[in-house]
Amino acid sequence: MRTVMRTPRLLVAILFMLCAAVCANVAAAQGLTLQIVNGVPSAIPITVVPFGQQGSGPAAPVDVAQIVGMDLARCGKFRTLPNSEIVQSPTTGAQIKFATWQQLKQDYIVVGSASYDGGVLKVDYQLWDVNKQQMLLQNTVARQGSDLRRAGHEIADQIYQKIIGVRGAFDTRIAYVTMVGLGDHAQYALVVADSDGYNPQTVVRSHEALLSPTWSPDGKEVAYVSFESGNSAIYIQNIATGARRLVSSRPGINGAPRFSPDGKRLAVSLSFQGNPEIYVMDLGSGALTRLTHNLSIDTEPSWSPDGQSIIFTSDRSGKPQLYEIPAGGGSPQRITFQGQYNADVSVDYDGKKLAMVQGNGNVYRIAVMDRSTGGQEIFVSPGNLDDSPSWAPNASMLLYAATEGPRGVLYSVSADGRVRQRLVLSDGDVREPAWGPYRTP
């Protein structure tokens, strides 16, 4: 017994030393790693053959074929052949031996080659139907500077659109908040990254909490809540220039900003008139229109895609539920009736699918309600403390935040909930993901 007691004490010391070492490494490790959690056997089989090299220039610093394959795999609609099973390496359609890929039960094959010359990455690729032995796509994509990985996302988008018939959303960005350290040593950052978590770029740093990042429809700005002044305040910041403006620092809560689809207005939750109410701010004049009038908490407004109505969280019936109100004002209608707690809606591009945090007891999961099928709901996350759902602009996938042990992590999940992928920041807490709009090339 004595040795058993002594060993843990030694181990505690070792664990403390390990923790200290990890903390010291905080600044060093800033990358995001990816893991496929679940696979779907019914997904479309596709092979992305590693791309060949064109010309005598240096090798491309990014593996474009791998980026394409990862994108297609994580959206849940495709199943990519692992590199270890790719037995031949064609780089053009003429080199494809279709019998091989038919035997491997592949429906589609992507081949290509890349050159990297003077900092410019150029990729020629082709998409072939394996069974029909027919070329479906042939294109050249070029990128330079810090945008090399976008070549892969762009190709994945083109393939997705050709096969699925819907615009791809891989060449997009996400925003999220990170926190490292505790208490007075806490360091918050608002980060913007590619949709797969790569290329993180810190937009704002603060020693006080940052929350609720949200994108302008043109993808150039983010609005967010910062406690840097000691109380909540809403800012809008240009991502490229860093220029920012304070849009609300009234007494009480300044929270939950969301841009209207035309980018001219901002829906917010403000409590300067006594308790949190939904307002719409005209961003040109700063004028406020108050939409809700009662003593409950009204917050987390989100616009319908046509800008005509706003869905928000209210506990006017006791627990938080979702309500819808005309954007110009009117009578709110309750729209959620399943689950004890429904909050923080994300509305998809056509307004049919509402993703929300649904709480039952101590379990909080992401639920998707389909309004086109009479409000049928599915859960797309396992819990127990999942929140901040955010649709991809084509509604193929969602981002959400989960708590694993002591820290927060981000997941992307296919719209049917069947394929999840963790985007893990290697240190600290990651939270409040927001999926940005389509990018212009």
Partner: protein
Amino acid sequence: MNATVRVSVVALFCLAAAACAKKQEVKPAPPPEAAPPTAPATTEGAFTPADLQTNACLRTRVIYFDFDKSDIQSQFDNIVACHAKYLRDRPMARMTIEGNTDERGTREYNLGLGERRGNALASALEAAGASADQIKVVSYGEERPVCREHNEGCWHQNRRDNIVYTAE
């Protein structure tokens, strides 16, 4: 890692888990100084700033809430009474009430819930004679937990109002 060490690691985690479980059973009651028997709410004579350091009731600067609730529990009545008396006795004194929640639920909703808890204490102080312009309420929602485990023992400690004197 050999087998003994591995077993020890497991033992360590079990010990830690047991410690937490035990804490959870004891926790529902707030810290002992919350109900000091030696702090009658209606002290003869006026409070002075020195009392903030020495008076057991005034030294208590936190009250706790039930899950999803914002009503002031009767066990904190004496805390409300002594801080209200301090504000009455010291018209130049100013206080910020920081409302907080546990981690369950969404961040923005919890900002609202934290504010509701802060307002509940402010209203109770005002009902006991403090002036509204002496009190400011700030909600931090779930952003400033004092405990980071995912269990009721921890959540209970986080569902709180903190009293901060900004002028004594």
